[in-house]
Symmetry: C2
Subunit: 392 residues, 2 copies
């Protein structure tokens, strides 16, 4: 029987929170704004994103921590929608009453991004190529403007402004969420007091730009993609499946993958009969990806890839210039065994900040999950995060 | 101007051999055998593979070292066909008169494999799906039987037998060549005195089986692949290009890739205009791959992927059983920064050999090339290799 990766994640997260207190119950809300103009100078008539919050906003509105999500994630960072949900949000191990990001003290707000990869997930609210273009009454497709991490951040800024919030005690995110966190600190330096980058980077290097492209190429190679025009036809699920399988593997590590994958007979009969036959490890990886593919949108993944490929903190001349604007205290938590965004990326950003006379903190997360140690092993840095947040 | 990876490799190899003596001139030869029966029990009417040799076979025919090549490589391991060739063979740094694999002492023979990935390279002689099936007068396509690393080795064994050689002083290969070297030691234990595995593994694990599959999926996703029937039509060059780009990236490392790739403007105009536009780093990686794609055959790559996916030394019950047959002295040289076949794979094989009371040697190659340190940084292990070969 094939055990899906979703099931695996369920097990891991369940185990890691087995002893937790009563579930934090949360609800998804949404925020809309009209005529948003992108960094590239295009105007989107209406953008809507989802968000969640945990804890209470104080009267001074100065106890706010913003959580920004990773490539395959969404704003469900903590708690459950219903007590019967199999899984809490992805960082439930560190967000909640008495936890590292203590919702008894802080108003924690978690935001969806534009062009979320899984717009058909009922818990995702996003705007992107699959959204209806009010000018045509049909999905935008590739008419949707290219957006950047800076656009994600500007829309989040508008969301916070709508709540009367003009200062962040901290902004924290893993992976693509780290890019948003750094962008926040660079773009709104007077509004961000602390920034925590988990499994992240200050800019994409050529290596990472290329690594992301393989995901995009898998989608573009599917004839059903049809240059982005598939909303009245069959979605390019084969291409999306291949992309999601690559994303999963890139985000993991041999130790954890080999622990979970079924083993293979010496000279497996089917595998030896034809190169078109599958193998147990492939059923495991690609089967899990195929189950999730219908919740994704192919164009959204392409837009997310591009947003990441274009990233350099501040989007201003170069990385050093972008970082020079940052006034926040910073903490970097890459994962030692990360094979996707290796620790050298965080180290390069830290080195630049140090050259600018700043005092970034740096610690590595240990674990067997590779990039995903930023999610599954985050509790190992709970004390570091709590101390960073609670130091004035 | 785009600098191709081929050009980059040229530079590296040229620099590394700049001070070498007069070029070793070599010629490609070929070996054919009739009615070869595969490990899977299928018969191929005729198989032909290419080979080269350096140095002279002694009268006792006991000074033979066999070199087995990597996934994207061929039997051109050393020397040049003509003194004007831009590049010598891939391991020229360690094969030649007075070098670590000293052709003044040893008769070094290097063999092509079945289903070589680049059958349209004029210096490759191989048999595979692109070969003419004598039963039909047309290319085999997917009618060609699945072959294994053990089949590569059995055909090489027939080649050596045809030369009257029944003992190997050593067998040495990098990457997929390492798989062949280990298979030689496990399959013909009384004929192999020394085995050197460079950037290799004793068996593919689930992680590696999955990693290889992304290359295959890229090809199968191309509509021109047409279930392997494209020999009378357009070859699936787009799929092959995507596969070769992945192979290149998987075999490299961020440090070397970032040194060579062109940099990107902050907010590059074309990249911001459309997700269908390219970026400089992508032109570099995929442009190089596209240049090499016409020399490859899509089906051959699929068969090579499958041969690797099925590998376990000895193809007998499990890895420990296969290794238990080995009588050769063994040396393992993984690369510390390898992201494709990480050192844990060699370590696992070494640990099993040690449990069996054997005495494998183990050293790691250092460098900035990742997996390709097994090629480009091999000279750093010249002394280790020479000592291993020259110790009785």
């Amino acid at each position: 029987m094939m055990r899906s990766i979703a099931y695996l994640l369920l097990l891991v997260v369940s185990l890691s929170s087995a002893a937790s207190q009563a579930d934090l119950l949360v609800e998804k809300k949404s925020f809309s704004m009209q005529n948003y103009t992108t960094i590239g100078g295009q105007t989107i008539a209406e953008v809507t994103i989802g968000w969640e919050s945990y804890g209470a906003l104080n009267d001074a509105k100065d106890n706010v921590i913003l959580i920004t999500h990773f490539f395959s994630g969404n704003s469900h960072a903590a708690g459950k929608y219903n007590s019967t949900d199999p899984l809490p949000g992805y960082w439930d191990a560190i967000i909640g009453p008495g936890k590292a990001i203590d919702t008894n003290k802080y108003f924690v707000i978690s935001s969806d991004t534009l062009v979320n990869a899984f717009p058909h997930d009922p818990n995702v609210i996003t705007t992107g190529p699959a959204s209806i273009n009010p000018a045509t009454g049909k999905p935008y497709g590739l008419d949707f403007p290219v957006v950047t991490i800076a656009d994600f951040v500007q829309v989040q800024h508008a969301l916070l402004s709508s709540l009367g919030i003009d200062k962040l005690h901290a902004v924290i995110g893993p992976s693509m969420g780290s890019l948003q966190a750094i962008e926040w600190a660079a773009r709104y330096p007077d509004q961000v007091e602390r920034m925590i980058s988990v499994i992240g980077a200050g800019a994409m290097d050529a290596w990472s730009i290329m690594a992301l492209e393989h995901w995009a190429r898998a989608i573009k190679a599917d004839p059903n993609w049809n240059n982005g025009n598939y909303y009245q036809a069959q979605a390019p699920l084969a291409g999306v499946t291949n992309a999601l399988a690559m994303i999963t593997q890139n985000a993991m590590h041999p130790v954890s993958m080999n622990m979970r994958s079924p083993s293979q007979a010496v000279l497996p009969e089917a595998g030896l009969a034809s190169v078109t036959n599958s193998l147990p490890a492939l059923d495991y990886l690609f089967g899990s990806a195929a189950l999730r593919a219908p919740l994704a949108d192919a164009n959204h993944i392409l837009y997310l890839v591009r947003a990441n490929q274009l990233f350099v903190a501040g989007h201003n001349q170069d990385l050093a210039t972008g970082l020079s604007a940052i006034k926040a205290k910073t903490l970097f938590l890459p994962a030692s065994n990360d094979l996707l965004l290796q620790p050298y990326l965080a180290k390069q950003t830290v080195a630049l900040l140090e050259q600018q006379g700043k005092n970034p903190q740096y610690e590595e997360i240990q674990g067997i999950w590779g990039h995903l140690d930023g999610i599954f092993s985050i509790a190992s840095k709970a004390d570091t995060i709590a101390e960073f947040l609670n130091t004035p």
